[in-house]
């Protein structure tokens, strides 16, 4: 005999409370995933899966123990609770750095998202047609198109949270995203580009600038420009960085370093730098759970996986490092207000310190003014991968880039790589545009500690840089 997710969580909490521990938290989830892949207008793959399971965490003597199960029977739940309690006691006897759950007001709440066109109410045919619309437009607009691919992903369901302090949260989980990839080929030259959008949104988001046709068109245009693109620039140049690349830099090369587990254990170069000036007056970076969805449709996370309301955190304020991102247990240990950054990719994992939406806030320039101020330099857009070191070094391959002269695009590059150190980058920010845009992808979330892909919001406005280093590993 098995129980429902919520009933099994209540049962686990009831048993857990019989043990002599400091705090018990129970998490549960029931989330259905659908992915659709299309290639050259042929439906290649459709996948559906449902993840259901619960996990329990016990705090004892400044350490935690965790246990989880997919088998929601009373017997299995009892074993799970005992394992978590045992693990907490063992962990407590080994822990050198002690955690202390920060004080907070336990929340009782049922949270749902208000979207117009919820994907569970939309037939499969319409989702497939979205992909085909994107591909058709890409084939129509592209040059020497060899292949088009389009993919759609959705996660819909609920996450639940209970603890021995009377928190009782049920929140809707929703993530939809779609993207179109175009491969162009001329002679031996092969180029590719992709555009995508997504978030905790209904399918109504895929219209206007995010209509499938526009995504296909953009991917086709970029792949075509790269066909005729010149050799990548190497050296130091003025630069304008677009929304997606700026967002990836804020997340990958700065955000991770501000996660308190990296601060606490000595790995991060931001350790000991609180209240120091690390960047220019334009270097402001926010990490936030709920952004105004009407203005900046993207990822929404009202509560984290420790039952903490997500708070807007100003990491960097006009260049000055003001805050770190915390777990409830690290916030309590250093006596700061919890930030709501304790997140787990699913019930098999204990929450670890993770970002939500991480971005530079909008500035006062239009993109046209940004290009004018750039004058002569590199305009660099989007990313197709990269590498960051925990010491603050980074290397990102841009999806596309242009040489700008006198504020006017002169020609496109085939491959552009930007690299350097995050502190150098922050000191070189000399302007922000108004056009904040946020995105979240079903396919490419954040990875850390074996927990991947965790949905996050990525994006920002265009950023103007006084100088940046371009060139790949060979530069």
């Amino acid at each position: 005999m098995t129980l429902s997710t919520y009933a099994s969580m209540n049962y686990a909490l009831k048993i857990g409370e019989r043990f002599n521990v400091d705090l018990i938290e129970v998490r549960g989830e029931d989330i259905s995933h659908t992915t659709i892949f299309s290639e050259k207008m042929n439906l290649k793959d459709i996948r559906v899966f449902r993840r259901v399971g619960i996990g329990i965490r016990a705090y004892k003597n400044g350490a935690t123990g965790y246990s989880f199960t997919t088998w929601l029977s009373k017997k299995s739940i009892k074993v799970m609770v005992q394992n978590a309690v045992k693990a907490a006691k063992v962990a407590g006897s080994f822990a050198k750095l002690k955690l202390k759950p920060a004080m907070y007001d336990p929340i009782q709440c049922k949270h749902s998202l208000n979207v117009k066109k919820h994907p569970i109410n939309v037939e499969f045919e319409e989702k497939k047609e979205m992909l085909h619309r994107g591909e058709r437009s890409a084939m129509g607009e592209g040059v020497d198109v060899a292949t088009t691919q389009a993919r759609y992903g959705e996660a819909c369901g609920h996450k639940y949270f209970l603890n021995s302090e009377s928190a009782d949260i049920s929140r809707e989980v929703l993530l939809v995203s779609m993207g179109v990839t175009v491969v162009s080929k001329r002679g031996d030259v092969l180029t590719n580009a992709r555009d995508w959008h997504g978030g905790s949104l209904g399918l109504e988001v895929f219209r206007n600038e995010y209509a499938p046709e526009r995504l296909g068109q953009n991917a086709a245009k970029w792949a075509a420009e790269k066909l005729a693109g010149k050799k990548p620039p190497t050296g130091r140049f003025r630069a304008l960085i677009d929304n997606k690349l700026g967002g990836v830099m804020a997340h990958e090369s700065f955000g991770h370093l501000s996660e308190y587990d990296f601060i606490m254990t000595g790995g991060s170069p931001l350790r000991g730098k609180l209240n120091q000036k690390l960047g220019s007056e334009y270097a402001t970076i926010i990490d936030e759970g709920v952004v105004n969805n009407a203005l900046y449709p993207g990822f929404t996370l009202p509560f984290d996986d420790e039952g903490v309301k997500t708070r807007r955190v100003t990491l960097l304020n006009q260049g000055v490092l003001e805050n770190y991102l915390h777990l409830r247990g690290t916030a309590g240990a250093v006596n700061v207000e919890p930030t709501g950054n304790g997140r787990a990719v699913d019930f098999r994992f204990e929450p670890i310190c993770r970002m939500r939406n991480t971005y530079f806030p909008p500035g006062d320039l239009t993109v046209e003014e940004g290009l004018e101020l750039l004058k002569d330099g590199v305009y660099v857009c989007n990313t197709s991968g990269g590498q960051v070191g925990l010491d603050g070094t980074f290397l990102f391959k841009a999806m596309c880039g242009y040489w700008i002269e006198g504020g006017e695009p002169k020609y496109a590059f085939r491959d552009v790589a930007i690299r350097g150190h995050i502190f150098d980058f922050l000191q070189n920010v000399i302007g922000r545009c108004k056009d904040l845009k946020l995105h979240s992808s079903y396919f490419g979330g954040c990875g850390k500690g074996g927990q991947s892909p965790l949905p996050v919001g990525i994006g920002g406005p265009h950023l103007l840089l006084k100088e940046a280093t371009f060139g790949g590993e060979q530069g």
Partner: protein
């Protein structure tokens, strides 16, 4: 740890198949996996200890030429039957695959399971935590230069069952333990890392690996820059030599061959590698980390050479690709990640590269000027798997001059092509067990090295 009865899993898989047929499937297959694990880690003083079980089912159904698949992370009957129903809904909307013939028939041939270590079942979280604290402490004790240590040990027991409408109903079990440790050494502004990990099907005592990882980090300090880009002999140690097998696996997949995406198309019986290179896919090695009696479709696994004395001998098949050619599957159907979430693809089980006669030192002593790549490579996944071109970053590389390892190098980039490299490689005698199989050190005479 508590085990679940394998026969119960097999009989549940059979019930799901029957149910799918009742729902209208012409053929159906149910794959169920179950894993119980304990993981402990210490990250610079922060402790993680978790123990739990996951189980899940993936069901594949056939309606004419349409194949549907759905999965659920549960073995609760209600939920798994619902997944069977979902799979049929998916099959109805999927395009027909004119190449699909049928699910695999039961195959009667000998095969065997890997070693199952009962002692693993009695390990507790406390045991793992103690072992973890030992390796972390010994790493920190090596030198004042060690500023950060992250170590962990995990143990797991897993079982899987497969049943289909054609009469397959089998299962197998396995045990595994793994430990890894990552250290950072700092001197002035220089920061270097060292890593060590060991995995085994048998209970293993990890003491010593912390010391090894820490020494690797410390010994990488004082790195110099490679002066200029040049083509040099590169010696890959028995950790990093697996890059060649990762790239080769893609080309050996019969799916890649049939879809004309492999550089090894039409090369069966041809010489593609160094005359003494023999690579076997050995699914039965008792200590092999992926050893299994049946593959992910329930077909008995096999032992076969893929390259024998430089000659390409076999491609790797699952039932889909084998039926295209009227053959029987080589037992290489595999489901990545959590298993039940994936439809079966193709993968080697355990590669065994037959060792050469030269030790690592012998190989070093053949090099006048070259690079010794150790412990880890970054960027293998970014290679061009179709052409075999790779460009990887070696963070722990050393410079060899006059047959001697002289000093560590700052990270360098190494570029080349796996199919060209295979023709010139020479392999050492020092086999090491890993998730790719058993591999020795490999010397490639000519690769582009960039500072």
């Amino acid at each position: 740890m508590i085990m679940i009865d394998l026969d119960n899993l097999i009989s549940l898989a059979e019930r799901v198949v029957k149910k799918a047929e009742v729902y209208g499937a012409e053929e159906a297959e149910a794959y169920i996996s179950w894993t119980r694990s304990i993981n402990s880690s210490i990250q610079g003083g922060l402790i993680n200890l978790s123990e739990g079980e996951t189980a899940g089912l993936g069901v594949r159904v056939v309606l004419g030429k349409r194949v549907g698949f759905a999965a659920v992370s549960s073995i609760d009957e209600q939920k798994v039957f619902k997944a069977a129903h979902e799979a049929i809904k998916v099959a109805r909307i999927r395009p027909a695959d004119s190449n699909f013939l049928h699910l695999p028939d039961p195959v009667k041939r000998f095969s065997k399971s890997g070693y199952f270590d009962d002692k693993m079942l009695t390990l507790t979280g406390s045991d793992l935590m103690k072992k973890t604290s030992i390796i972390v402490k010994e790493a920190g004790d090596i030198s004042q230069q060690i500023t950060f240590v992250y170590g962990g040990i995990g143990v797991s027991v897993n079982q899987f069952a497969v049943a289909n409408s054609r009469g397959i109903n089998i299962g197998d079990s396995g045990t595994g333990i793994g430990g890894g440790i990552y250290c950072k050494a700092v001197e002035g502004s220089e920061e270097r890392t060292g890593y060590e990990s060991i995995s085994s099907r048998r209970l293993f005592d990890f003491s010593g690996i912390g010391e090894i990882a820490a020494k690797r980090a410390v010994n990488s300090l004082g790195a110099k820059r490679l002066e200029v880009t040049k083509r040099l002999p590169v010696l890959f140690d028995n950790y990093t030599s697996s890059i060649f097998l990762s790239l080769l696996s893609y080309g050996l997949s019969a799916r890649a061959i049939q879809e004309k995406r492999s550089a090894l198309s039409n090369k069966l019986g041809e010489k593609i590698a160094w005359k003494n290179l023999t690579v076997i896919d050995d699914s039965w090695m008792s200590d092999g980390l992926n050893t299994v009696k049946y593959d992910a479709e329930g077909v008995p696994t096999t032992v076969k050479p893929v390259i024998e004395k430089g000659v390409l001998k076999n491609y790797l098949h699952n039932s889909y690709t084998a039926l295209q050619e009227g053959k029987s599957s080589t037992g290489n159907a595999a489901r990545g990640g959590e298993g039940y979430l994936q439809i079966p693809g193709i993968s080697p089980i355990n590669y065994l590269i037959l060792p050469g006669s030269k030790s690592l030192d012998d190989l070093i002593s053949t090099i006048d000027e070259g690079i010794f790549v150790r412990y880890s490579l970054m960027g293998v996944g970014h290679s061009n798997f179709i052409s075999g071109d790779f460009s990887v970053v070696a963070s722990n590389a050393f410079y060899i001059k006059n047959k001697t390892v002289v000093h560590p190098l700052r990270p360098i980039m190494i570029a080349g092509n796996v199919y060209n490299a295979l023709k010139e490689v020479e392999v050492g005698s020092d086999l090491r067990l890993s998730f790719i199989g058993k591999t020795p050190s490999v010397l490639v005479p000519n690769l582009t090295c960039t500072p």
